[in-house]
Amino acid sequence: MIAIAARGPVIPNFGGRTSSFSCERANRLFCSDWVSRNWGTVLWPALRQHIILTLIAVSVGFMISTALALVAYRRNWLERPVLIVTSILYTIPSLALFELLEPVPGLGLSRATAEVALVSYTLLIMFRNTLTGLREVPADVRDAAAGMGMGPTQSLLRVELPLALPAIIAGVRIATVTVISLATVASLIDNEGLGAPILNAISNDVFKTELIVAGAMAVGLALGADGLLVILQRALTPWTRASAA
């Protein structure tokens, strides 16, 4: 069922080859004609879906893993079980996890299934980074905050979390790039994102232009997101640059 849903040539909008274009008939490596004709109908929507899938997965994953990390920061015993569960989730190959979620009631072949799987891959990364960042706040600094009369919550919000920010953002960065990568495989389940044109091109007699353009867009999106997060990290934590230099 999945195979048909994701890859059937019946879906008209994924940029089939038209015989009137010789470049496409010959299946050359790059037909700019095809790209300009299909940008608005195939490539741009796929890119937009990919970005939305990623934003949702990273936001939800961030909320869950930050909450878990904050609790584990106060209650040490929680760290180990969370690490074991999230490590197992992280280890399961994406192709398998997407399929395993499919029969779960309420999920099926939908964007929700894709999101659940994508979120589960972000948990280990962001949980570990946030917890490590918080633990690495020097004891002296915590003592100073307490000495200034800050309670535990105030100290957490105004001292410990800001100092852990570089590690937290590093986690968000790795999680974002990981999700962008895995969301290409999610197309098998929800027929969205940049994986959809890739799978369509494979079933369309290995149409090279579509493979290359969609593949390059996925790589470009991941590199672009990585760059943006580096800039965000520098903007939010200017003090790390001063000490690094």
Partner: protein, 241 residues
């Protein structure tokens, strides 16, 4: 729940479906998946471990070694496979090339960091005892670097097993991914059965490498580091240049 029971039955029948002609057995497909992944890992190890260790030993090329790890994370496996298919066509060679491209960077980055961060005083002491450069690498830096070097190898192995199954989507048959890519013949039960096998395979590979790592880690280092959960470690480099 019923679907999962049928999936277990499918595994019990070794991937055969009553009434269907003979299909490749699950055991065969699992071994093939391991073989394809194994070749990729082996080539990547031969290339990446010496490069990472040499760079770390001379403390040069940190920019390249670290950024390689960052760029690597931005390479979606399906996209790499797709671009490979477009340029090279389908075949074992193309799949192995994609696997090597995806496995080399984390191994180099981690091996570099592992050797580069070995305590300089320890290396100086070894030199003072009259050890040559090669002896320092073999007797001091490599044993101390085992945990990080293995973190890279485990990350790479996980990626390679995962990508081997994804290769089925680009039309290369021979791995467990074939079943997932062919729901028409295998039905949902077969697809789920194959997914369970893939998940178990990845976990077993991960545990086996963790055990190998423990066996190779010097005893003193184990005492100092405490216990390891024995599961996937994401790439160590959290902040790139």
């Amino acid at each position: 729940m019923h679907d999962f029971v049928e999936a277990i039955t499918f595994i019990g029948r070794n991937g055969q479906i009553p009434g269907e002609p003979h299909l490749p057995t699950l055991v065969h497909l699992t071994l093939e998946t391991l073989r394809i992944a194994g070749i990729g890992i082996a080539i990547a190890l031969v290339i990446a471990v010496p490069v990472g260790i040499s760079l770390g030993h001379v403390h040069r090329g940190s920019f390249v070694a670290i950024n390689l790890g960052n760029i690597w994370r931005a390479l979606p496996s399906l996209a790499v496979l797709a671009i490979g298919v477009a340029f090279l066509g389908l075949g074992l060679g193309n799949v192995e090339l994609a696997l090597v491209v995806l496995a080399v960077p984390p191994i180099i980055t981690n091996a570099y960091v592992a050797i580069d961060t070995v305590d300089r005083d320890v290396v100086d002491a070894a030199r003072g005892m009259g050890m040559t450069g090669w002896e320092i690498v073999r007797e001091v830096e490599l044993p101390l670097g085992v945990p990080l070097i293995f973190a890279g190898i485990r990350t790479a192995a996980l990626f390679v097993v995962s990508t081997t199954t994804i290769a089925a989507l680009t039309g290369y048959s021979g791995s467990l991914g074939d079943i997932i890519n062919n729901e028409t013949s295998y039905h949902l039960a077969g697809v789920l059965g194959a997914a369970i096998c893939i998940a178990l395979l990845a976990l077993i590979v991960e545990f086996a490498l963790a055990a190998l790592q423990r066996a190779l880690t010097p005893r003193g280092l184990k005492l100092a580091e405490g216990e390891d959960l024995g599961l996937a470690i994401a790439p160590v480099v959290t902040e790139g240049a």
